[in-house]
């Protein structure tokens, strides 16, 4: 289980800030420390070489070891922390300071003119060594060392101070980082609060889009768009359940009423027969609504799997015209277009196009015209069914494929026909559109063409 702050952007951001600041400071510190150290080394080397030169100078001037020691001693008066040893072939010539470390240092071999740092008895020294040919003709070895304690102490102090400063800076960065991150995340909290206020009853609320930072604008827009879709579906759903209840209640109410009234007193056989026949009609209506609803519910859940076969659209339409044409005595019906085939379920396609045809016929006044045209466009088969008649108002056109939507309330049918048509077309991978003007109302179905025929 991860700790709870693991998922906090604020904590993560401030820790990241602190880490970054620490890294940058540390790198800077290491660089500056190195520079200071190099500088000190250079200073030390300069001084050591100076002393080396001094000893050589004195060595070439003085003619005896004693006078050389005497003069060196004079020259080095007041030098603290400096150690000089000069050893000739036959023993020690000079020691500064006279006792102590000088002898020890002089014994260290393999030191050249490049300064070397050594730790002796817990004290740091920088040492150089060189040779000298004395005025009296001896070869002598010079060792010059400097106690660099005051330099290292300074550097140590510097480092201590620096790491403390670094720690303080890191803590400060965390604190300031938290503040900055919290401030930065404030709009997100605002959005969350706004989203929290929205419940099923207030789907019309939206998150204000004007004050939102650029980075969150996309999220807010998407969220609001989602709310819009939700609201629409929700409204549709509540309309739908209301409609469904009404649709089922009406026949049930009729059945109940007429049965109750009929049973209220003794009636003739004919009256009973009439009642039963009327009931039968209502049962049929109920059972058709339920079947249609079931079909739509299955279509919504993607359970309507068309049985795929090759369906000739022209033949299918001709067949439908022959059947439904019986209803269109006073209209002129026309079928036009290419012979295209699509993959799909013949029965379902019959039903989908049939519904449109019935609607078209039903909404066309006598002497009007219903035209079925089959064509193709962009690899899709296009079946358009147009009829002359009163245009459908624009707002009704928007809702026309919804369930239980009827243009003429109280008319025949359950108002599920177009919804079913649409479901079938969608299940076949197609789409459906409606348009209406003074001249004609047109429903257009597009279905993917049969791949076999497209290839030809």
């Amino acid at each position: 289980m991860l700790p709870p702050w693991h998922n906090s952007i604020t904590v993560r951001l401030s820790l990241a800030f602190a880490l970054l600041a620490t890294l940058v400071f540390a790198a800077l510190g290491v660089y500056l420390g190195g520079s200071a150290d190099a500088h000190m080394t250079e200073l030390d080397a300069h001084e050591l070489h100076g002393k080396l030169t001094l000893v050589r100078h004195v060595g070439t001037q003085e003619t005896t070891p004693q006078s050389m020691g005497q003069r060196l001693g004079d020259a080095l008066v007041g030098e603290h922390g400096l150690i000089v040893a000069v050893d000739g072939d036959s023993g020690s010539i000079f020691r500064w300071p006279a006792d102590g470390l000088a002898g020890e240092l002089a014994a260290i071999p393999n030191i050249g003119e490049t300064p070397v740092r050594l730790n002796i008895n817990g004290r740091d020294f920088r040492i150089v060594a060189g040779t000298l040919t004395t005025a009296w003709g001896q070869t002598a070895r010079i060792v010059v060392a400097r106690d660099i304690r005051h330099h290292t102490a300074f550097l140590d102090q510097l480092q201590r101070d620096f790491w403390l400063a670094l720690l303080a800076a890191a803590l400060l960065t965390v604190a300031v980082g938290i503040l900055i991150a919290r401030r930065g995340m404030a709009p997100v909290r605002d959005i969350a609060h706004a989203a929290g206020r929205i419940s099923a009853g207030q789907l019309s609320e939206r998150i204000p889009e004007n004050d939102v930072p650029l980075e969150l604008a996309e999220l807010v827009t998407a969220f609001n768009a989602m709310l819009g879709r939700l609201e629409e579906s929700f409204n549709r759903l509540s309309d739908f359940s209301g409609n469904l209840a009404h649709e089922l209640r009406t026949p049930l109410h009729t059945l109940r009423m007429q049965t109750e009234v009929s049973l209220g007193k003794l009636r003739s056989v004919d009256e009973y027969r009439d009642l039963l026949a009327s009931n039968l009609e209502e049962y049929e209506r109920l059972s058709r609504i339920i079947a249609d609803m079931l079909f739509l519910a299955k279509a919504d859940n993607g359970l309507v799997m068309p049985q795929k076969e090759s369906v000739e659209l022209r033949e299918l339409c001709r067949h439908l015209l022959e059947y439904y044409g019986i209803l269109a005595e006073h209209l002129s019906l026309k079928l036009d277009g290419e012979n295209l085939s699509v993959q799909g379920d013949r029965l379902m396609l019959q039903r989908a196009i049939g519904n449109l045809l019935v609607n078209a016929i039903g909404h066309t006044p006598p002497n009007g015209r219903v035209t079925l045209v089959i064509g193709q466009q962009d690899g899709m088969a296009v079946v358009s069914i147009s009829n002359t008649g009163a245009p459908i108002p624009a707002d009704a056109l928007l809702r026309i494929f919804d369930r239980f939507v009827r243009l003429d309330p109280g008319g025949e049918g359950s108002g599920l026909g177009l919804a079913i048509t649409r479901s079938i077309v969608l299940a076949h991978g197609g789409n459906i559109a409606a348009s209406s003007s003074e001249r004609a109302t047109v429903f257009t179905i597009r279905l993917p063409l049969n791949p076999a025929t497209v290839a030809v």
Partner: protein
């Protein structure tokens, strides 16, 4: 004609038995799959009406057992499910037809008669009722000696009525037989078509031959 009904719903079963009896069949009713299987294996039935959802053995298992035992009587499935897969499963197992509840009783009767008729009587070439005569080969219709002009579909419709004299034909059955329209729609196409046929066949003649049974369908008979 003996029919075995296997149906566990009490009311449905009783009414099926009564309805089939009144339609002139001898119908026996059992209420579970096991009895259905024993009766089907032992009894001498011409047709089996089988509910899919049964306690104990379900309809599919009963059918399997019967077919395995070599009984090849026609089987009509009844079910409340209309999934395509269910239908395919039933037909694969050797069912002969399939009805989804709720169905019209007249529809059931028509299907039962079709199943029982299958492979039995040869289709006759001349059909008649009272003074109405139909020459199926020449596609001609006469009534009281007068030639009646019919469209191709009107002829098919009349032929269906004459072949099914005395049977109640539901609208959906007529639509599927004559126009090959196999889905229920709430249009009155069949009504209009029958009205036109009547105008030609019945209006100027007596007795009337085509009768409407409200809520159920149409029947052709002399009344």
């Amino acid at each position: 004609m003996k029919i075995l009904i296997v149906e566990d719903e009490p009311k449905t079963g009783d009414y099926l038995k009564q309805g089939l009896g009144e339609a002139g069949f001898t119908a026996d009713l059992v209420r579970n799959g096991l009895d259905g299987m024993h009766e089907g294996l032992a009894g001498d039935y011409d047709l089996l009406i089988l509910d899919v959802n049964l306690p104990g053995l379900d309809g599919w298992q009963v059918l399997k057992a019967l077919r395995a035992a070599g009984r090849d009587l026609p089987v009509l499935f009844l079910t409340a499910r209309d999934q395509v897969e269910d239908r395919v499963k039933g037909l694969d197992l050797g069912a002969d037809d399939y009805l989804v509840k709720p169905f019209a009783f007249s529809e059931l009767l028509a299907r039962v008669r079709t199943l029982l008729r299958r492979g039995r009587s040869k289709e006759t070439e001349n059909l008649s009722l009272a003074d109405l005569e139909l020459d199926v080969l020449k596609r001609r219709a006469h009534r009281a000696g007068r030639r009646i002009d019919l469209t191709a579909k009107e002829f098919s419709l009349l032929e269906l009525f004459l072949r099914r004299q005395g049977e109640v034909l539901s609208r959906s059955f007529i639509a599927s037989q004559v126009w090959d329209m196999n889905f229920d729609s709430d249009t009155n196409v069949v009504e209009v078509a029958i009205r036109r046929l009547r105008a030609k066949v019945d209006d100027e003649f007596t007795p009337k031959l085509i009768h409407t049974l409200r809520g159920m369908g149409y029947v052709m008979e002399i009344r």
